[in-house]
Symmetry: C2
Subunit: 376 residues, 2 copies
């Protein structure tokens, strides 16, 4: 099978390497951004050549970002080419359009590398839902933020030093906003919910908090109470809606996810018959991510049925949780205070997540912090 790769960065190069070593498919064309990047005879800057080339059965999109990735994928599907992508932002934003275009043109779009890099997370959700009822999932879905939190708790670094180190190691990008403020996790929560429940939820409806404002006081509070902090994404089925949110959380030291090290990811799926299943591994990086992309290419080649379809959109709803709030101005939270830790910090009673995130948004600034109190 001939395939074309769009983008020759971290993932695209990794896919090319594995396919060459394993001989699973021939990469006959590679799209690069500009002429200075042309390294071998397969490379071009002209996307239209991929569409015109009838020998290419599958387009592997590794450009990242919304455009031109989205337009290229739609054009590839319309030209009856299968698409495999590792682009979570594009998949979460244009999920319905991409799946519907694939169905309409009798081809498949596969995206198992979009969540958890090389971890077979979306595959597991797709498999479980066929014989069981998925009730909820959650996970450490971002390796950059987990690396920073690991360094804060294991090696006592402050946030800025840990972030600098993550950048040096290539775990964090020059602009780390998407990773540390929860946007990346929100995309992954949306895609996980979409696959688990054959739906599409709107990423803009997912409330989120990041980890950039976690201070020494918050870390001391965690240590004094035998907690570690992890950034978690949640999805909980509630009738015809999904409770989805992203928030740092206090995790008791005895819980395995308190010990997920470095830049690893961990996901848990809860279903009626199977109970809790957890998957842990490298959630990013060249070869782990490329591994899942190559698996998708293999499944395209063997004509496996795609692992998801859309039934209908679901609304994002809330659930009851307890929160730790630190802010100079705690206005709005008064009726929900369970414990006052000091003048600026409270623990709330169980309150619904929508209310909590809405109230916090009203008082949020660079000196405030919101951390979920784990149910475990």
């Amino acid at each position: 099978m001939n395939i074309g790769i769009l983008g020759y960065g971290v993932v695209g190069k990794g896919v090319d390497d594995i396919l060459q070593e394993k001989g699973l498919a021939s990469v006959t064309r590679i799209l690069v951004k500009d002429e200075s990047e042309l390294q071998d005879s397969r490379m071009t800057t002209d996307f239209s050549l991929f569409i015109k080339d009838d020998s290419i059965m599958c387009i592997v999109e590794c450009i990242g970002g919304l455009e031109p990735a989205h337009t290229y994928c739609i054009q590839a599907l319309q030209a009856h080419k299968h698409v495999v992508t590792s682009n979570k932002a594009m998949m979460a934003r244009f999920y319905d359009e991409l799946l519907e275009t694939a169905v309409k043109h009798n081809v498949t779009i596969r995206f198992s590398a979009c969540v958890g890099g090389g971890i077979p997370w979306l595959d597991q959700l797709a498999s479980v839902k066929k014989t069981d009822t998925i009730e909820s999932f959650y996970g450490i879905m971002n390796g950059t933020s987990n690396y920073i939190l690991h360094q804060i708790f294991m090696n006592h670094l402050d946030f800025d030093t840990a972030l600098r180190q993550a950048k040096q190691l290539g775990y964090a990008e020059a602009d780390p906003t998407a990773d540390i403020e929860g946007f990346d996790v929100a995309n992954k929560v949306a895609l996980s919910a979409n696959v688990a429940w054959n739906t599409m939820i709107d990423i803009n409806d997912i409330p989120m908090c990041g980890i950039s404002t976690i201070s020494k006081d918050d870390i001391d509070y965690a240590n004094n109470n035998n907690y570690r902090i992890r950034l978690l994404g949640h999805g909980i089925r509630q009738g015809n809606a999904v409770c989805a949110y992203v928030c740092p959380e206090f995790i008791p030291m005895d819980h395995p996810i308190a010990h997920v090290p470095l830049n690893y990811n961990m996901f848990e799926c809860n279903s009626a018959y199977l109970g809790a299943i957890r998957l842990m591994g490298q959630g990013a990086g060249r070869y782990p991510t490329a591994h899942n992309v190559v698996k998708d290419i293999r499944l395209v080649k063997s004509h496996s049925t795609p692992f998801t379809s859309i039934v209908s959109r679901m609304a994002v709803t809330s659930a009851n949780r307890r929160f730790y709030i630190r802010a100079n101005d705690l206005s709005g939270f008064e009726p929900y205070i369970e414990t006052r830790i000091n003048d600026t910090t409270i623990l709330t009673k169980e309150m619904d997540t929508t209310t909590a995130f809405t109230l916090y948004k009203g008082i949020q600034n660079k000196n405030s912090c919101m951390i979920g109190v784990s149910l475990w």
Copy 2:
């Protein structure tokens, strides 16, 4: 698709329940052991009816043990019926005969519930090997022994009290030997190696130690050194052979597997591109195990290709590891002593596992104990 279930115990009944709820297949015949167990019109004590019934496409074997399960499975395959089984002892012992009989009669045998109950462990090995090179695996593969170790370390019970509790909760059988002495784990190590490397290793070649002789002194040593003990099974590819062994091990408190709670299982696969992937969940129990059986039935129904084939047998070989040995008589270990803890207890230097297990077997009695020292 009509199917027949052999055995209506914990797993057989669970499979029947899920299939009825999900409508994935019709259970038209159920084999029970004697006439007193006949509960509904599908039940019979006559296996020959299953073979004669051309409407039955798939036999689900949930009897357990070697015979008559093995004979029934062979006869079912010879009658061109697919087989799905959760019987690890039978699969490990008759692996080559069962797979070869299936191939010869153009049907499949699936056994994903044999290792890890509902955890998609064998599926993951089968998937990874198609696009990557599996280097090693290990895991907490027995829920009964993990439950006992959890109670010893978290709730300070002694071994006998923890075992009694495990029996009361249905986690341990009346005769717990297979679970606590490592036989069950050895079967699972063999099947994991077989799937990972398209081979068959002989379970009788896998050296093993169990957990029944772990004493208060050993537990104190673990606690004083910030370890917990877990019973692990290992498989490491070494050229054309597999290093496989079963042994309790000291795990540092910072490692996630030190925190695998209660009767949960955890498995790790290491491969060249993907790195480490861990899976955790319920390794036994009615519905988790039945979940994987039902998934196998679904895959039989959709004509998916079986996930393994035999290439050739591999020998079991050794690797270098450190061990903690407690015994009244330490003869043979003198050249390997790294540290003498007291008169009866030593830590060894790195030594090859074959030598270690052979020497230990020579001095082993109910007052001795061998524990691996984790590499982490």
